[in-house]
């Protein structure tokens, strides 16, 4: 973990003093962040022994985190706690920042502070290819899957407060009379359909994930039209023992610069094959 | 009028691994005879007794009990049937009593007739009570074995074996696990069974019992029967020096 014996009075100072920033990331998603299975730890890294280096993981989020580190002038190191430990806040100073495609919601803002968004993804509904369903309304009364504690689950439950998005980014509401099936992650939803389970015939997740699912041969199709759009940003712990505002300002500055100089668009094209770093309907 | 023997052991061998424990043993026991088997520890007394009802599988030889002949080298279903029949003809009493701890005294005694012979429960109880009475244990019929003294347990074990109405009773050191003062009550019951005409083969260290009750005393040594005589003869005038040594040992223990 970080901290300990430092003289810095804010998190930015502490990060600079120790020479690396500790980023938490969720390695369950390709192409956002996932293991580099043939990578190995470089010998000259400043990262703590129990953290991962940029050589051991990869993805869009990872590249963004690396760019942030570069802008701060420090090495970027990664830790991989369970996703709900990240979203719940109270990190106990174990890591400095989350760069993990986290959706900005009002509920999360009680526990976390967010940077400016670094990209935007539409949430879409994927249905089993053999179901013949082509529109949202046909899903009424069906069972639909989502990852536990994701914005997708809130949306399915019609919990707008939990979802906590500005009204303008929510395009449609969930179908009537559905049964929500929460699995550990949305990847389990996809794999359940692939395995031939019939407990549900659809799941909700980000368009990038569905595209990756389809590319991997999972027999699903996207329903036309996003159901809402998410702002994805870096997050900071409100209960951090050192103030985070200076770090947040520095990160905002770095992300804005990357938006402006096209770095983000380039990374997006590299990992997603399209540019999703421009805010929708604005 | 020579009667055919009720137990006949012919050329019996028993190996444990490479250990030759019974060596070509032959023995005939006429009906109603009481035989005491004595010998040093490890001489093979228990093994011989246990071969009679196939608790130990003999390696070769023949066992005949009340006309049922079993060859040690027989196999398969038929052999199992023969062994089962032999077991129905023999009752066994162990050193460690081996009462079933989860059953009351009465349940212990009717277990055999009801489960094995399919006897009507009522009839079994009648028979059981009769036998419990004759060993003086009827008053404890609803007690569990845990609550009985060693001597009482052994008397119930005898009643349990008797209730199967065996033709031969086998006893393997029935009093060795008992406190000295409880030995008497079990020996008395055994005496009673003997006088009622049961054929009995008794492995024992109780020289007094052998002298008083046995018709024959057989001495085993290293897997062989080395002497076979009536008790008076044997104790006063043993032929084999090993028998002499054995008797001396018992004497020194007693004194």
């Amino acid at each position: 973990g970080g901290g300990g014996g430092s003289t810095a009075t804010d998190l930015l100072g502490a990060v600079k003093e120790r020479g690396y920033i500790l980023v938490s990331s969720d390695l369950n998603y390709e192409p956002q962040s996932f293991p580099k299975t043939d990578g190995s730890r470089p010998s000259d890294t400043a990262c703590p022994a129990d953290a991962l280096t940029s050589e051991e993981i990869q993805g869009f989020d990872v590249d963004v985190a690396l760019a942030i580190g570069e802008a701060l002038g420090v090495e970027t190191c990664f830790v991989t706690p369970d996703w709900d430990l990240i979203t719940a806040g109270s990190w106990a100073d174990k890591w400095d920042i989350s760069v993990g495609s986290m959706t900005v919601t009002t509920a999360r803002q009680q526990a976390l502070d967010f940077s400016v968004p670094y990209y935007y993804t539409p949430a879409v509904v994927a249905v089993a290819a053999d179901s013949g369903i082509t529109s949202l309304s046909e899903l009424s009364g069906q069972a639909i899957c989502a990852g536990t504690a994701t914005t997708y689950e809130f949306w399915l439950n019609n919990d707008m407060e939990g979802l906590g998005l500005p009204e303008a980014s929510v395009y449609s509401s969930a179908p009537e009379g559905i049964t929500v099936v929460p699995l550990s992650t949305d990847q389990e939803c996809a794999q359940a359909i692939e395995a031939g389970r019939t407990d549900f015939i659809a799941y909700v997740t980000s368009e990038t994930v569905v595209d990756a699912n389809i590319a991997a041969g999972i027999p699903v199709v996207k329903l036309d039209g996003a159901v809402y759009s998410e702002d994805l940003a870096a997050a900071f712990d409100k209960s951090s023992s050192l103030p985070t505002d200076t770090l947040r300002a520095a990160v905002d500055e770095a992300i804005t610069a990357m938006h402006n100089d096209g770095t983000l668009s380039e990374l997006s094209n590299k990992w997603f094959g399209m540019d999703i770093t421009q805010a929708p309907n604005q | 009028m020579p009667v055919s023997p009720i137990v006949k052991i012919s050329n019996l061998d028993k190996f444990f691994g490479r250990l030759h424990v019974l060596k070509n043993i032959s023995l005939e026991v006429p009906e109603r005879q009481v035989i005491c088997l004595i010998g040093r520890s490890g001489s093979g007394k228990s093994t011989l007794l246990r071969c009679i009802n196939f608790l130990e599988e003999p390696s070769r030889g023949k066992i005949e009990v009340d006309g049922i002949q079993v060859d040690a080298e027989g196999k398969g279903k038929e052999q199992r049937k023969l062994i089962h029949d032999v077991r129905l003809k023999t009752g066994m009493v162990f050193q460690e009593f081996n009462l079933f701890p989860h059953m009351s005294v009465l349940e212990n005694v009717i277990e055999g007739p009801v489960t094995v012979k399919g006897m009507d429960r009522k009839h079994a109880i009648e028979l059981a009570e009769q036998n419990l009475d004759s060993v003086g244990m009827l008053f404890k019929k609803d007690e569990y074995p845990l609550r009985l003294s060693g001597g009482q347990k052994q008397r119930v074990a005898i009643a349990r074996a008797l209730t199967m109405e065996p033709r031969v009773m086998l006893f393997d050191e029935p009093t060795s696990a008992l406190d000295p003062e409880l030995i008497g009550e079990v020996l008395n019951v055994m005496k009673k069974v003997a006088t009622e005409g049961m054929t009995m083969i008794v492995v024992t260290h109780e020289m007094g019992f052998a002298r008083d009750v046995a018709d024959r005393v057989i001495v085993m040594s290293d897997g062989e029967l080395i002497e076979d005589a009536n008790p008076d003869e044997l104790f006063s005038n043993p032929k084999d020096p090993r028998t002499q040594a054995l008797i001396d040992r018992y004497r020194s223990g007693e004194q």
Partner: protein
């Protein structure tokens, strides 16, 4: 044997005094243990009371839990007790059946049966329970066997505990002395009768205390079944409200309290049962 005092030289009242003194000593010990438990429990509560204590220049903080959250959500979490118990009971029953077969198979002289029983135990004990649940939920459908979430959970838990429990049963079977089998065989019982009427009843009695322990840990492992999405037991509910309201610690503590109370109750009955069995006809 030795009879009651009044025939000895010591008057009955003095014997009674000595006896009472002994009883008192035991009572005092039990009382002091009770008091110590109380103190330890208070310390535990204090640790979670969110105090700030200063003396001298030294400040000491204890852990802060949000008691309002606890009161608001306790009934929701408690609603999972029924499912937890249901799954645990069903699974343990199935486990007992499996354990019995495995333990008996282990005694078989027929090589395929022996092999099947040892293979089962080795495979199950050698692999994680999580994988087994996953297998029943996501892999079995590929064989055309589609089981509901709760059924696959109970099957997986039962198979898993059955493998471990079979060792308990094996110990139970071998705790029944050779003499018992021999006595039964000498009476002419078949091996089957010997097993059913003589050996098993005694072995089960021996196996009951460890089975009690298994049941107690089953209540906790049953939480894994909620990964299949259709089971909403204690832990699932705790995680869910905890995540949604960023109070994971509070939610987990509540779940833990329920588990603990359940364990205490079960332990109490277990010790009653054990006392009865050992006092009984053994």
């Amino acid at each position: 044997m030795a009879s009651i005092t009044n025939e000895g030289q010591m008057p009955a009242s003095q014997a009674e005094l000595l006896y009472q003194a002994q009883l008192r000593k035991e009572r005092v010990f039990r009382m002091h243990v009770g008091i110590s438990w109380g103190v330890l429990f208070l310390i535990l509560i204090f640790l979670f009371s969110g105090q700030h204590i200063e003396f001298g220049g030294f400040t000491f903080k204890t852990i802060n839990v949000d008691s309002e959250f606890i009161f608001k959500n306790i009934t929701f979490i408690a609603g999972g007790l029924g499912q937890t118990l249901l799954i645990s009971v069903l699974s343990i029953l199935f486990a007992i059946v499996m354990a019995l077969f495995a333990a008996l198979g282990r005694l078989s002289k027929f090589p395929p049966i022996y092999a099947l029983s040892t293979f089962y135990v080795s495979l199950i004990r050698g692999t994680p329970l999580y994988l087994q649940i996953f297998f029943f939920f996501l892999a079995l459908p590929q064989l055309g066997i589609v089981l509901s979430g709760i059924v696959s959970g109970v099957l997986a838990l039962g198979l898993n505990y059955g493998a471990y429990m079979s060792e308990t049963f094996r110990a139970g079977l071998s705790s029944v002395g050779k003499g018992q089998r021999e006595a039964a065989m000498a009476l002419g019982m078949t091996p089957g009768q010997t097993m059913m009427r003589i050996v098993l009843p005694q072995a089960l009695r021996f196996a009951i205390p460890p089975m009690g322990n298994d049941f107690i840990s089953m209540t906790k492992d049953s939480a894994l079944v909620s990964a299949t999405g259709f089971v909403h037991e204690l832990m699932w509910r705790a995680t869910k409200v905890g995540r949604a309201q960023f109070n994971s610690l509070e939610a987990l503590i509540m779940a833990a309290m329920f588990y603990w109370v359940m364990t205490l109750i079960l332990t109490y009955f277990q010790s009653k049962l054990e006392a009865r069995l050992s006092k009984g006809d053994r």
